[in-house]
């Protein structure tokens, strides 16, 4: 082996970053003009291995800077500073339908980044890299506190930013799969929002009684957040994805108790039986289950369940009554919910009602349903189990990886600006920390 090539130096800065932070991957001391492969490897909590790689050529100084130099081919191509993360995919031979979601957000995601001689595409496990480093990606900034919440029968987790506060609050809802999903709330707390992730479909109450929670459950969550001594009770927002959007709109419009300063609705719809309980809304979707389609890979497409968008006002949350700013995030290739059609209808309804100044729509061509925090690997489809179906289905989410990843990055930046504007008030920060 060439002596010089032994001394190839690989560095990633920062080696410990937040999940939404960019890093700089630098190769130095390589032979000028040499062909090298940079590869990322991650083993997720359930033991599956994910990898991404790019093919590079060292320049005349023997350097490769991933944020400036193009990958010729690989799981990503072109100049992609974060390609090694967002293009991660299960290694060949893995079980189909995997999706990367971290459950324990108190420990970091560990990614091993290595550089190999030549342009390699497979068999990395049998090759010896020239150099390798380990990078940690954290959901929680130092000092962020994680507090399980069981008050009032809630199954929730509160994340408090470090510092004296008081902080604006955020209620964080996920979709039909249920569970207590904490990672987005943890990240938002790292950005200064007291965020409460809520399990509203598989809460302790539901698991023990078999009954779905009622509207009061959300109002209790709101109250608990509002009354926390480190939360500014007059500045609380709600963020929901997928079915979480349905709940968010419901609470924002109809609740006497919940007074939101802002709402963020990702990949969802306003179509729902007005004044329906959680159970009734779920039932409404179930009724239309017959409209499920399957593509050639036998992946379930659920976007038609709510189409066509009804004209009957009793079947749509009355967005004309909204009194707080609303940010809609839409993937135009969403195969799971008709988010784009809903967004158009919402726009019309609000224009007619005269409150469209409250509406902002972010619409992303070729982005799918799962618009997650940035650099989360894109899953075009994955196995999914909703609380009502009880059996796993291969669900088509949609989206093309490159555009979907760009959408995640852009949407997150804009969500943070939107929340800052409406919850912290005053001017926009000119450059928000590391984004």
């Amino acid at each position: 082996m060439d002596r010089k090539q032994c001394c190839v130096k690989l560095s990633v800065q920062p080696s410990r970053g937040l999940m939404d932070e960019k890093f700089i991957v630098l190769v130095q001391n390589a032979l000028p003009g040499s062909q090298l492969t940079i590869r990322a490897l991650h083993q997720c909590e359930d033991g599956h291995s994910w990898e991404a790689f790019g093919h590079y050529t060292a320049d005349t100084t023997g350097t490769i800077n991933v944020s400036e130099d193009p990958s010729i081919r690989g799981t990503y191509s072109g100049v992609e500073q974060m390609g090694l993360l967002w293009s991660l995919r299960p290694i060949p031979g893995s079980k189909p339908g995997l999706r990367m979601r971290k459950k324990n957000i108190q420990t970091p995601m560990e990614v091993t980044i290595s550089v190999y001689q030549g342009h390699q595409t497979e068999g990395f496990a049998d090759l010896v890299p020239l150099s390798g480093v380990v990078v940690e990606r954290w959901y929680m900034a130092p000092g962020v506190r994680r507090i399980p919440v069981t008050e009032g029968g809630l199954t929730a987790t509160l994340f408090l930013p470090s510092g004296p506060g008081p902080f604006p609050g955020l209620l964080d809802l996920w979709g039909g799969g249920g569970q207590l999903v904490e990672y987005r709330a943890a990240l938002l707390a790292s950005h200064g929002f007291a965020s409460m992730a809520i399990d509203y479909l598989t809460s302790k109450f539901t698991m023990e009684t078999g009954k779905m929670v009622d509207n009061q459950y959300f109002e209790t969550a709101y109250r608990v957040l509002q009354q926390h001594p480190q939360v500014c009770g007059s500045k609380i927002a709600m963020i929901g994805l997928s079915f979480g959007t349905s709940m968010t709109l419901k609470m924002a419009i109809y609740s006497e108790v919940i007074k939101l300063s802002a709402a963020v609705c990702i990949s969802g719809s306003h179509v729902q039986p007005v004044e329906g309980s959680v159970e009734e809304i779920m039932g409404f979707f179930q009724k239309n289950a017959g409209k499920t389609r399957f593509n050639e890979k036998n992946e379930a497409i659920w976007r038609d369940l709510l189409l066509p968008i009804p004209t009957d006002p009793s079947l749509k949350a009355d967005v004309g009554r909204l009194q707080c700013p609303l940010l809609l995030v839409v993937g135009e290739d969403d195969q799971n919910w008709p988010a784009q059609e809903s967004a158009l209808d919402i726009k019309e309804m609000m224009a007619r009602a005269g409150n469209s100044h409250l509406l902002t729509v972010l619409s992303y061509p070729n982005a799918g349903h799962l618009i997650e925090p940035p650099y989360t690997p894109h899953a075009r489809s994955s196995t999914f189990k909703t609380v009502e179906i009880q059996e796993k289905v291969m669900c088509l989410w949609g989206g093309q990886t490159v555009e979907h990843s760009r959408a995640q990055e852009d949407a997150w930046k804009k969500i943070l600006v939107f929340l800052r504007e409406n919850l912290y008030g005053g001017r926009n920060p000119t450059s928000f920390s590391h984004l």
């Binding site: 130096k9 920062p14 480093v133 940690e136 130092p142 008030g425």
Partner: protein, 473 residues
Amino acid sequence: MFLLSRKTIMFRAHMSVTRIWQLIEKRMMSCISVHGKLPGLQRAVGEVRRKSSFRQSPLLTATPVRALIDEQISIKGRFLSQNYPVTVCAQMHSEEGDLWEAFAHYTTNASGSINLTSDHSVGGSYVGCEPMGLFWALEPALGSREGLSLRKRNVETPYMVNISLLEGHTSPSEGQRTELAAVTTERWYMVPGVRRIEIRQNNIVGTLFLPPGPGPFPAMLDLWGEGGGLFEYRSALFASRGFASLSVAYMGHKDLPGPPHIMSVGDSYFKSAFQLLQDHCQVDADRIGVIGLSFGVVLTFRIATRSGFKPSCLICINGAVGSPLLDEDGKIKMSESDQKYWELDDRGYVSFKNVSLPDNLPPESKQKVENITCPLMCIVGEDDLCAASTENADLIEEALRSAGKSHQFTRLSYPGAGHLIEPPYTPCARASLWRAKPEKLFALWGGHPAPHAAAQEDAWKRILEFMETHLRR
């Protein structure tokens, strides 16, 4: 009047209850319930305090928030009032539980911001433009025990340093301060993937740190001073920068033979340590250097000239060419035998400097530095009160010049710097507890905070560059 909680919220003396209710009526504080419960009032007062001074919640950021000890952290405050006095304060607890603090006074600019990378402190623990001043100027809090120093034992966990932004020009010891914002930073000695391996074989007592990756890696043998014990943090940092590094203890360690205040191991011990590195499958046997601080310098010269090994480079920090304590085999004959050269100051703190003045060193103890065959970097703190570093560096320089080896010699000399030139952005101890028994003795290291900090920062950079040049290329 309303001291609501020790932690943060303070009530301005001039803010009357009437005024608060006026503000409630103006709906500025919608979070108070009709019955004015105390928690609600607390929140309201906090809000009013903020609203009366600022348009928006102040924000304090530190980037990167998880950093290596030798990395610069960029601290910024935003959304404050314009041209406003603020204090930035750093606080942390050492492993022994002592509180260390530093603070600095700044004035926000016309945009209501401060940036410690470019702004000047006008008072506090440091003055001037010092991006990392909050870290190197840390001092034990008022009322702490004497002679404390900050030296991390467990290098696998970070120091948690809390940085806060306070209203006005104040200090940590002043009771009433309004905290506007805070951020917690982590400062690490190890990057992810560095492997820490305890070595207790071939009679060696040490810790080996390996960088992440397959290797083979260039390596360093890391030697500390006569205080004894096993200090891992420099080796941990070397491994974080891509060099395998072995720290060894040679006295004052429970796993070593003999009483703790005597060095019972000799030349063969250090030979074994060097051999261990050479034999390690992930170490490049032809690229091993040695670094020594204080007494470690003599040991470094013994390895370079008597062991039969040929290190690729040597780094010597604040040491001497010989010691009256060493016998022929490189073991310590007896300890503290040269008390005649000790100098005590008016507090009874001792300077060992004169012990190592070349004229006071027994001639047979002086190592033949002219026989070294590799590049040597000599680092000198000109205010070193523990070793006659400058005088010894002069001697070394002359010896190498006479042997026609000046091209192998690099000297870094730092005015105002003391004995313990350590990795950067850590506090300088001008004196610390040397030993507790038979009675307490404090040793003087010398050095003044600001020049010592500058020396540590510059020396570390040069050390790493020197290692890159002679061990990697």
